[in-house]
Amino acid sequence: MLKVDVIENGTVVDHIKAGSGLKVFVMLGVAGGYSERAALVMNVPSKRLGKKDIVKIEGKTVSEDAASMIALLSPGASINIIENSKVAKKYVVSVPERLRGAGTCPNPNCITNREECVREFTKEGERFRCHYCERLVGAEELV
């Protein structure tokens, strides 16, 4: 396996669905202009998933809101908060029932893409309904 440095203080996002790692990386804002170490490892062999992606970020604790967004991209992903090189907290992300102030509606003719407003999406079955344009969209489309 590709060797990646151990994180001292930061976050490891593990068990990301293979192919979604880059989106997680970009979404967490470490793709460009981030000053500390960050790594994206793709297609790592995994017993459970066959292949998985991993994101490691030094100096950044992923918030629960951000974890919700990760859940939209990869529902089974796990968050490991690292402090002093030890796992201080570990949990599996869960897809939220409702998103408020997060997510982007993929409908270009939706008011949320035209004027300042608090975006809101509610889960309906496997998908989400935009509070404004009322379109039903896939979870991944919101990121």
């Binding site: 008011i111 935009c130 039903l136």
Partner: protein, 296 residues
């Protein structure tokens, strides 16, 4: 109380509005909101919706102010929400129509006064849905159990998608009749099924024999890549006098209007044709909606 989407309404709320419209139509109820003012904010043209709202307001003894986007500060780049905030100071209730989806919901968010959706892009036009439900109830006596054939472009027609929702709410039988590729979107079918446990019969040919109501809408040529196919489909789904020969007694034909050639003009004078009546119901139903919005 705002009226933004048919999805916001419970069945009992819809019934309340329809009952009120019924009383207004028969002259038993005369809403009096004298001193109150309706503002119509139409950011895209729709003469009929606007006029019928203005007529409804005047019948409710209300004053009307009309906002004309082409002569306003919008041209100077004022935001939509700023415009709404200013206009609400001039009126007690606002009817807003705007081409951007979700815009009227946003208007209601920033506005203290009741806001009524007069159509937001391809999303919602709830007052049309209430008029359609009222028309079915009025012409057939009830909505429950009626087999309503929705005919035309069910994929793009906002009126059809909302009406399907409203019909399901009332336990009507829905038969969706459309050309291939213009079917009622799966998302709508699934939603109706999940919320009301109602299934929808799907057909790709016109056969009104088992219909209680034929609700027809336009098939736009632009929806087809091939103009020949467009012509074929328009002809295939056109309602002709001959189609009504084996129809049920008491069949009712509705159309949101304007109609182009979806219905043979000789049908206009037949007793089944109720679309002009349906257009006229716009006034009492909107009177009831204004009354409801101001009373809550």
């Amino acid at each position: 109380m705002d009226l933004i989407s048919i999805r916001d309404l419970e069945k009992k709320e819809v019934e309340l509005i329809l009952d009120s419209a019924e009383k207004i139509h028969s002259g038993k109820k005369k809403p009096d909101h004298s001193g109150k003012i309706l503002a119509t904010l139409f950011f895209e043209p729709s003469t009929r919706t606007k006029l019928s709202f203005q007529s409804a307001a005047q019948r409710n003894k209300m004053g009307v102010v009309d906002f004309l986007p082409e002569t306003s500060s919008l041209k100077k780049g004022e935001s939509f929400t700023d415009t709404v905030r200013i206009l609400e100071g001039y009126a007690d209730v606002l009817v807003v129509r705007h081409p951007v989806e979700g815009s009227v919901r946003l208007a209601a968010d920033v506005c203290e006064r009741p806001v009524i959706n007069g159509g937001d892009g391809a999303n919602q036009h709830p007052t049309q849905t209430l008029i359609d439900l009222f028309s079915i109830r009025k012409t057939k006596g009830k909505i429950e159990g009626m087999n309503v054939h929705l005919v035309g472009d069910l994929k793009h027609a906002r009126a059809m998608r909302s009406l399907a929702y409203g019909l399901a709410m009332f336990n009507a039988k829905i038969t969706a009749v459309s050309p291939k590729g213009l079917e009622l979107p799966k998302a709508d079918v699934d939603e109706i099924k999940a919320k009301f446990g109602c299934s929808i019969a799907v057909r790709d040919t016109l056969d009104p024999r088992d219909a209680d109501v034929l609700y027809v809408c336009r098939i736009q040529e632009e929806r087809f890549a091939d103009p020949m196919e467009a012509k074929r489909m328009k002809e295939k789904f056109m309602i002709r006098k001959d189609d009504l020969k084996n129809a049920k007694h008491g069949l009712v034909i509705l159309h949101p209007l304007p109609k182009i050639n979806e219905i043979e003009s000789s049908i206009d004078s037949m007793p089944q044709a109720k679309y002009f009546e349906q257009a006229h119901y716009g006034v009492p139903v909107r009177q009831a909606i204004l009354d409801w919005a101001l009373s809550k």
